[in-house]
């Protein structure tokens, strides 16, 4: 004991009012913190619910369309088809040459009276399809439900306010009169829109479908995953397991991180310069779109795969090396299987981003109007987000509900992709 030593402290009084007040403050802060977290979650949930609600409310009717009943006399002579030829080997050609459009117009004029022009310009396709499906209808009379023009369709779905003035209403008095004429006679009905789920784009809203864009997205993503996954994983394996550390690998690492942050439209320019201008690949084709998106996705896959590989414990590598596994065997038998769940998570994130990407695809020409579903990796195609962008830009009223319906399709596909990925990841995790 020296003379300068501090006086003994009084023992802490844990029950003093000041101490109790501090405890109360601590509890209050804790409560506030939790409430703030809950509030943030609720706010996010509210926005999500609002978004989904507005999209579904607008888009739901996109999956339904209105049809009008027309009874058609399939007069082979008037169509210029020889029934014998139609049944023969060149039958399809003969049927394709026939003028079903005129037959449609004649039938509509005869049946629908003043409302003959409600029939969609593409309705004759249904007539041809009926003959192609069954040559026996030639010479017979059939009642077909054919699509109506978009405005009539929207009237049937109650999308217009009929009491509004004609100029601001968006639909003419004649159309309204036609619709009521048909409705009074029970000639119009609204049911599932098989055109929307099976057709590609069209300038007429009632004939436009999402199938072409969905198929385009699928083909594009196949190219993306086929190019980005192996390249990304191999690059990550090499960097983590074989490269060692040097100035050069540091440079590569920094470059990859920077590449992951490059705006997607830049990758579009890169794709335009490399794939279209240098390699002369076809414009607006899934192969080019897929490769461009692969360039964009690659850094994400490399970064997440490296993190997953790094997370594999060193003891596993030691164990395998210790019984004489070659570096290649260590990677393939031990490191990759253990890193796979993490690698897949990164790939899913990259693919989801690629599925929703629009800007780079606009630059490589995927915003072109494509009236047919793509037949291969090199045929013209569009993708879901670009289709949404194009429809949202269209002045015709009928595309409003199509836009929202297309968004619903895109969201459902995203959800499916994530579910499959999470399922696969859990399976691999359990196996390891």
């Amino acid at each position: 004991m020296t003379a300068t030593s501090a006086p003994r402290r009084a023992p802490t009084n844990w029950t003093a009012p000041a101490m109790q007040a501090r405890v109360a403050v601590r509890y209050r802060r804790e409560r506030l913190f939790r409430l703030a977290g809950l509030g943030a979650l609720c706010l996010a949930g509210l926005f999500l619910a609002f978004l989904l609600f507005t999209i579904v409310r607008t888009g739901w009717s996109g999956f339904r369309h209105s049809e009008v009943a027309v009874s058609v006399v399939f007069d082979a002579q008037a169509l210029g088809i020889d029934p014998a030829v139609a049944r023969g080997p060149g039958g399809v050609e003969a049927i394709r040459r026939a003028d079903f459009n005129a037959l449609m117009q004649r039938s509509a004029a005869a049946q629908l009276g003043p409302a003959a022009d409600v029939v969609s310009e593409g309705a004759w396709l249904d007539l041809r399809a009926a003959v192609l499906a069954d040559r026996g209808v030639l010479g017979q009379t059939r009642t077909l439900w054919v699509p109506v023009r978009s405005n009539i369709d929207l009237l049937a779905k109650g999308k217009f306010d009929e009491n509004e003035a004609e100029v601001t209403r968006g639909v003419s008095n004649e159309d309204i009169a036609d619709y009521h004429y048909l409705e009074a006679r029970g000639l119009i009905r609204t049911d599932f829109n098989e055109i929307f789920v099976s057709a590609a784009n069209s300038t007429d809203p009632e004939l436009a479908g999402i199938w072409g864009a969905a198929l385009g997205s699928l083909l594009t993503l196949l190219v993306t995953i086929g190019a980005a996954f192996p390249v990304g994983v191999l690059a990550a394996v090499w960097l983590e397991e074989f490269a060692g550390r040097s100035r050069w690998t540091d440079f590569v690492e920094v470059s990859i991180s920077n590449l992951a942050a490059v705006p997607s439209i830049i990758f579009g320019l890169l794709g335009l310069a490399v794939f279209l201008n240098f390699f002369n690949m076809p414009r607006s084709a899934p192969i080019v779109g897929g490769l461009t998106l692969a360039l964009m996705t690659l850094p994400v896959i490399v970064i997440t795969a490296r993190a997953a590989i790094r997370a594999v414990p060193g003891s596993v590598r030691d164990a395998a090396l210790g019984i004489g596994a070659s570096p290649f065997q260590v990677v393939v038998h031990h490191v990759l299987p253990l890193a796979l769940p993490g690698i897949m998570t990164g790939t899913i994130i990259g693919m989801a981003r690629a599925l929703g990407e629009t800007a780079p695809l606009l630059l490589i020409g995927m915003r072109a109007f494509v009236a047919d579903a793509p037949k291969g990796l090199t045929s013209s195609a569009t993708v879901l987000p670009v289709q949404i962008f194009l429809w949202s830009d269209d002045a015709q009223r009928g595309f409003v509900e199509k836009t929202s319906a297309a968004i619903m399709v895109l969201l459902v596909i995203l959800l499916l992709m994530s579910s499959v990925a999470i399922y696969l990841r859990n399976r691999f995790e359990n196996r390891a």
Binding site: P313, D318, A319, G322, I323, G324
Partner: protein, 255 residues
């Protein structure tokens, strides 16, 4: 001390981690019949030295080895020495049990499979059973060979690792403090096992535990600050050490 042809020999061995020298000019002959223990205080370089024998130091980025190590008289650093085969001939058991996150069967069968030691399922089954029997684990796991190796207790995992090492039929087994993560009962089992394996494999064991060295080994080398201070018969070294530093260590003066 020196036999006509020792199983392993090191001559003027130095190991550097960057600028730091971890092993200083060590020469040693290791016999095939005996268990050789390497003892010494923490950080004295005994684990580093052990890892020279199967060239596991190659995997450490800035490690550099100079000097010579011979296995059956052949330089293991020679250009025509395949390091992958060397590691099959010189097996290793690590400080922390590190079974693969695969089935017990797969853990043992992996080595023989990659080296092509068994043709056909039946032969592999026999090989796995034999390795597990020799590791004293067979009776405990015979009904659960498909379970993951990581579901076993710590001591069982370490014996599984020993079974995995002997399944490839090595000539030498290196053990790096194999009992430091185990309780006394599991430790006793491993020590018993080491005694059973003696004679069939040359065994080199690094241990912190001097009683363990005295129990399981016939030769002991004492390391201090990267240098080998003394090497000799275990009984002599523990009862009548030549060097003052050895005496200080085994009597608990430091370490």
């Amino acid at each position: 001390m020196t036999e006509p042809c020792p199983k392993l020999s090191a001559r003027n061995l130095n190991v550097f981690y960057g600028a730091k020298q971890a092993i200083k000019n060590v020469s040693i002959d290791i016999s095939r019949e005996h268990v050789t223990a390497l003892i010494g205080p923490s950080g004295c370089g005994k684990s580093t030295f052990l890892r020279c024998f199967n060239r596991m130091n190659d995997t450490i980025e800035n490690a550099r080895v100079t000097g010579e190590i011979r296995l059956d008289g052949r330089d293991i650093h020679a250009a025509d020495m395949d390091v992958v085969q060397l590691r099959a001939r010189v097996g290793m058991v690590f400080q922390k049990p590190n079974p693969f996150p695969k089935s017990i069967y797969e853990n043992v069968a992996y080595g023989p499979r990659i080296h092509g030691l068994a043709s056909g399922r039946a032969e592999m089954d026999r090989l796995v059973e034999d390795a597990l029997r020799r590791a004293g684990l067979w009776d405990e796991v015979r009904d659960r060979l498909a379970d993951s190796g990581t579901t076993l207790s710590g001591g069982q995992q370490q014996r599984l690792c020993i079974a995995r090492a002997i399944a490839v039929d090595p000539e030498v087994i290196l053990m790096d403090e194999p009992c430091s993560a185990l309780d006394p009962v599991a430790t006793a089992k491993i020590e018993e096992l080491i005694d059973d394996l003696r004679g069939r494999y040359a065994i080199v064991i690094v241990t912190h535990n001097m009683q363990q060295a005295a129990r399981v080994s016939q030769r002991t080398a004492f390391f201090h600050m990267g240098a080998m201070i003394e090497y000799g018969e275990t009984s002599t070294l523990f009862t009548n050490p030549v060097q003052a530093r050895t005496k200080d260590y085994i009597t608990g003066r430091y370490g």
